[in-house]
């Protein structure tokens, strides 16, 4: 009668939708997998019982031994399959993270660059109107502002592009070369004298760390250009014990780190560094410049060459 009940329930199920999922639900929880291996339907447990029973009550039939051999074959096949599936799932997860990051960057690109370009266009339009009115001096000033904004936009647009390239492993220069190139551009665009002193190699950073470092430092460069009023900017790296420190500092007017001015993106920088397990320090005193440094832990232990520089 229970059998009939099962059939009836199966039939009744079809009266409502089964609610097929629109996407796969993912992995089965580990404790359920353990239940399979140690539970009443577990093939190894079944054969273990058979072997123990057979050992106590010989002889063991040949079909049990054949079953054991097949079980071993099954185990070998299963290990191979599970390994392959795990690898594939890992790749899918990485791909998913990458796509998510790309989406974020596109969103950011839209938010920042589009607004800047729109601002430039408005300024240019106003400059043209002013020039037609005959106020040449004011028009020139507006053109100058538009040019400055265009340079900023150019600088900004390269940020997400560089990060995307790093994420996709397409960035030919390593982190060190990349930052040097950015320094050159920075000096060209903003007229701040730059100095690089990368004593510790940044090439040992993995792609995710490299992407985070680039993102944080481009943000820090931007802060120097926009807010610091500095004449000089310094890019430095050192290996202190097992910690790789990369630092950018300026000789600008600094700020109170207890009450940082809005718009510096410090929270974002800290979060971005934290995503790859690094720490971010912001050291600043009013009138004595600012230093932003990222510390990557668990590096190869090399004697400290930096000593009192920090």
């Amino acid at each position: 009668m229970l059998w009939a009940l099962g059939m009836i329930l199966l039939g009744l199920t079809s009266t409502t939708s089964l609610g097929m999922p629109n996407q796969n639900f993912g992995r089965i929880q580990p404790w359920r997998i353990i239940l399979y291996w140690l539970g009443p339907l577990s093939p190894p447990i079944h054969f273990m019982i058979l072997l123990l029973w057979g050992a106590m009550n010989p002889p063991l039939p040949i079909y049990v031994l054949v079953g054991c051999a097949l079980l071993l074959l099954y185990m070998a096949l299963r290990i191979g399959l599970v390994s392959s599936v795990s690898k594939r799932l890992g790749q899918e997860r990485e791909e998913s993270v990458r796509e998510k990051e790309q989406g974020r960057l596109l969103y950011e690109l839209h938010d920042t660059v589009k607004q800047n370009v729109h601002g430039i266009s408005l300024t240019l339009r106003a400059a043209i109107v002013t020039e037609r009115r005959g106020d040449r001096e004011k028009a020139l000033e507006m053109f100058g502002r538009a040019l400055g904004a265009a340079r900023e936009a150019e600088f900004q647009i390269s940020r997400p592009y560089d990060e995307l390239s790093a994420l996709r492993g397409e960035s030919p220069p390593g982190a060190g070369d990349f930052l040097r190139q950015r320094l050159e551009k920075f000096e060209e665009y903003f007229g701040v004298k730059t100095h690089d002193d990368l004593q510790a190699s940044l090439e040992e950073l993995n792609p995710a760390e490299t992407a985070a470092l680039k993102r944080v430092f481009v943000e820090a460069f931007w802060n120097v250009a926009k807010h610091s009023g500095a004449s000089n900017m310094y890019l430095e790296s050192r290996l202190v014990g097992s910690v790789l420190i990369v630092r950018v500092r300026d000789d600008g007017h600094g700020f109170d780190t207890e009450k940082p001015p809005p718009g510096l993106g410090l929270r974002y920088m800290r979060r971005r560094a934290g995503e790859v397990g690094a720490d971010l320090d912001v050291i600043s005193t009013q009138g004595r410049g600012t230093a932003v440094q990222v510390r990557f832990r668990k590096r190869q232990n090399i004697p400290d060459p930096w000593r009192d520089d920090l």
Binding site: L5, T13, N24, R27, L41, P43, G67
Partner: protein, 245 residues
């Protein structure tokens, strides 16, 4: 993937079957079955009538719902529905062969063919469901189901069916295959049902899973003509499997 009308009745044109009425009918039958004395003819008739009507009900309901379903749900209902049709045919042929005595002594009885068609369809339906509710483990699950079949079959034969066969003086390959196939295939279905249940299943699956589990765990009154004393002894292996699960 196609969408589904999740959360509501499939289509207003599909006649709604009142579950309470159907379950009440089953409960009534079960009560009468329990009250009747062991070994009575009426008990056997009730069991046969109920098993046939339940299989027919499941087949008609599943296939009747198929045209109104879409995508993967449709494929699943089709596989399950045709599996049930084969199952019903197997049960009907088994009953008829025992009533009129045909097919006895032939190498392959018609009901065996029907069962042989039914199980791959049911296992296919369950694997389809596993593929829908889990991610990339269908092949591993199929392999596991095969291992479960192997171990349950060996266990059932060693402890239960082998000794029964020796006592009855039957050792033919056909009898062995027929006797073993049902508990072994039901164990695979049960395992696949548990895999589906282990995923993050929506409540709508619950009734279906209870149905699969009940079907697999219960000893069917129509198994094989292996044991002379009828279904009770030949389904012992199946009982073991059901109890263990």
């Amino acid at each position: 993937m196609q969408g589904s009308d999740a959360g509501r009745l499939r289509d207003p044109r599909v006649p709604r079957i009142p579950p309470v009425a159907v379950l009440a009918l089953w409960a009534l039958g079960a009560l009468v079955f329990a009250v009747l004395p062991q070994g009575s003819e009426a008990k056997s008739v009730i069991a046969t009538v109920f098993s046939l009507s339940a299989a027919a009900f499941a087949a008609i309901a599943l296939l009747g719902a198929t045209p109104h379903a879409e995508g993967h749900e449709r494929a699943f209902l089709q596989l399950m529905g045709w599996g049930m049709v084969s199952r019903f045919a197997g049960n009907a042929l088994w009953s008829t062969s025992h009533l009129f005595g045909f097919g006895v002594g032939t190498l392959v009885a018609p009901q065996d063919v029907a069962y042989a068609i039914s199980y791959p369809l049911l296992v296919g339906a369950m694997l389809h469901l596993v593929a829908l509710v889990t991610r990339r483990i269908t092949l591993v699950t199929a392999l596991d189901a095969g291992a479960v079949m192997l171990s349950v079959g060996t266990l059932a034969w060693y402890f239960v069916l082998g000794p029964v066969a020796a006592d009855a003086g039957l050792g033919g390959a056909r009898e062995a295959v027929v006797t073993l196939s049902q508990p072994v295939c039901d164990a695979a279905l049960l395992f696949l049902g548990l895999v589906v249940a282990s995923s993050r299943v929506k409540p709508r699956f619950s009734m279906f899973l209870i149905g699969v589990s009940s079907r697999c765990c219960s000893p069917t009154p129509l198994t094989s003509d292996f044991a002379p004393s009828g279904p009770t002894r030949s389904a012992t292996g199946q009982r073991c499997c059901g109890l263990s699960a």
